[in-house]
Amino acid sequence: MIKAVDVHKRFGAHHVLKGISLEVAAGEVLCVIGPSGSGKSTFLRCINQLETIDEGAVWVDDELLGYVERDGKLHQLSDAQIARQRRPIGMVFQRFNLFPHMTALENVVEGPIRVLRESRDTAHARGLELLERVGLQDKGGAYPSTLSGGQQQRVAIARALAMRPRLMLFDEPTSALDPELVGEVLAVMRDLAGSGMTMIVVTHELGFAKEVANQVVFMDDGRVVETGPPDQVLVNPAHERTKTFLSAVL
């Protein structure tokens, strides 16, 4: 479903991604782990085209992201086309990024109404369903500033799901949360993985990765060091670098 080939990204002279290649099948959960600065988040942001890539290519459902191939060249897509490519990809951010001037329900229905052009009634009915799914049915009228971090992140997940995504990206979704609030967000994500959603999760929650992931990727210094099922990468890593990282984290 997702295929990345030799993805490079530079910020000025800083070479952040040095050739990332990987594949995720439909229904799979991929967890990306690694030290900070290793390029995990940047790679995730490239999939949603919040960053442009300098070399290489990413396909989602066989559609090349950001470019169209014509006459042996890659032509950059327009903003509108890129916006359309983002629709089936949901994204959850470390800092939640809920719209603070809208209630929880308004956050969730904004995309369906403005982007998918759903009717207000349809969007609201489904928005309430989604809030119920993340355990916040009674918080629809609450503004984000009155919600806890865990509640905000669950609203953010509902907001992403409202766009009926085929792929969900999570960028360190629990890193900004107080420890006792991590569990409620992970529970929602676990439930989502169980429903067959394709997910790429950048995380430091190794327990979650071990339990939910089909595939774990360990990244360091802009490269994929090691990839495989969680039992292998997290329990019996082949590379010395992975071992050092795991022993430092655990």
Binding site: L50, A83, H101, Y143, A162
Partner: protein, 273 residues
């Protein structure tokens, strides 16, 4: 040491400074009132002209000009702020040039330029749509509206730009992640949040604008100061009529301040204090 101290009655400290300040202020106010009461000014004339037809027309014109010039200023301000922040180097350059020219020249001079445009272009022609003598088009109202509005836009664009910059970039990313276009992101997500930061300075600018409309009296626009002057040229009651104008400026500005309060409350939804 007795622990009973913990529950003894408490006496607040005396604020002697406040009493002193109050006495001084009252004394100064009394002095001002007494001197004006004994001065050579006919208060009955002030009262008489307060609701004179020419003055009221002037008040309405002042208000109308302030509102319309501000609308022009806001529209241009948002437009040029967005152009300035665009990735397009041409629009960025144009916006920079606009701010440079209209912020860099006196407003009174700009009013004169617009008002006298007919000297350069005697006829205003858009083939098939408009064909007229520029003197007929460039009335005092139109010249003042253009002069004040366009200049205001140059200032407002910087205020709007500051407001847009104050919105966390994560908001734009979240909007893009749900597939919103740049325009939708701006209109639905960024601008409503920027408004909270933009409104207080805009309120300020609106109030400045009310007073700036008095410049338009120089090109014969019938605003309240112009009306007051016309009357005192005839009857020599200079101070009386200036007080009439003062009164009405304060009224208009007070109304706008109230309006600002209401609008600011509307745009602070979801903000924790």
């Amino acid at each position: 040491m007795s622990l009973d101290v913990a529950h003894l009655p408490r006496v607040a400290r005396k604020h002697y400074g406040r009493y002193v300040a109050a006495v001084v202020v009252v004394a100064v106010l009394v002095a001002i009132v007494v001197s004006f009461a004994g001065g050579q000014i006919e208060w009955s004339v002030v009262g008489q002209y307060l609701t004179a037809r020419a003055i009221l027309t002037g008040v309405v014109n002042t208000f109308v000009m302030a509102v319309f010039a501000m609308i022009v200023g806001l529209a241009l301000g948002v437009l040029f702020a967005v152009m300035r922040m665009s990735r397009n180097p041409v629009t960025r350059g144009v916006s920079y040039l606009y701010t440079w020219i209209f912020r860099g020249t006196p407003q009174l001079l700009q009013l004169f330029l617009w008002f006298n445009l007919a000297l350069v272009f005697p006829y205003f022609v858009i083939p098939g749509i408009v064909e007229a003598r520029t003197v007929d088009l460039m009335t005092p109202f139109v010249a003042a509206l253009l002069g004040l509005g366009i200049c205001q836009g140059a200032y407002t664009s910087e205020v709007v730009r500051g407001g847009i910059l104050s919105v966390d970039h994560g908001q734009t990313e979240a909007a893009q992640a749900i597939g919103m276009t740049r325009f939708q992101t701006l209109r639905r997500i960024v601008l409503p949040q920027a408004m909270r930061v933009i409104l207080p300075p805009i309120g300020n600018e609106f109030i400045s604008m009310v007073k700036l409309t008095s410049l338009a009296s120089a090109i014969q626009y019938q605003e309240v100061l112009h009306s007051a002057q016309n009357i005192y040229y005839a009857n020599n009651r200079v101070m009386e009529l200036l007080f009439v104008a003062t009164f009405w400026y304060l009224i208009v500005v007070s109304l706008l301040s109230l309006g600002q309060l209401v609008v600011e409350r509307r745009f602070s939804r979801g903000v924790k204090r």
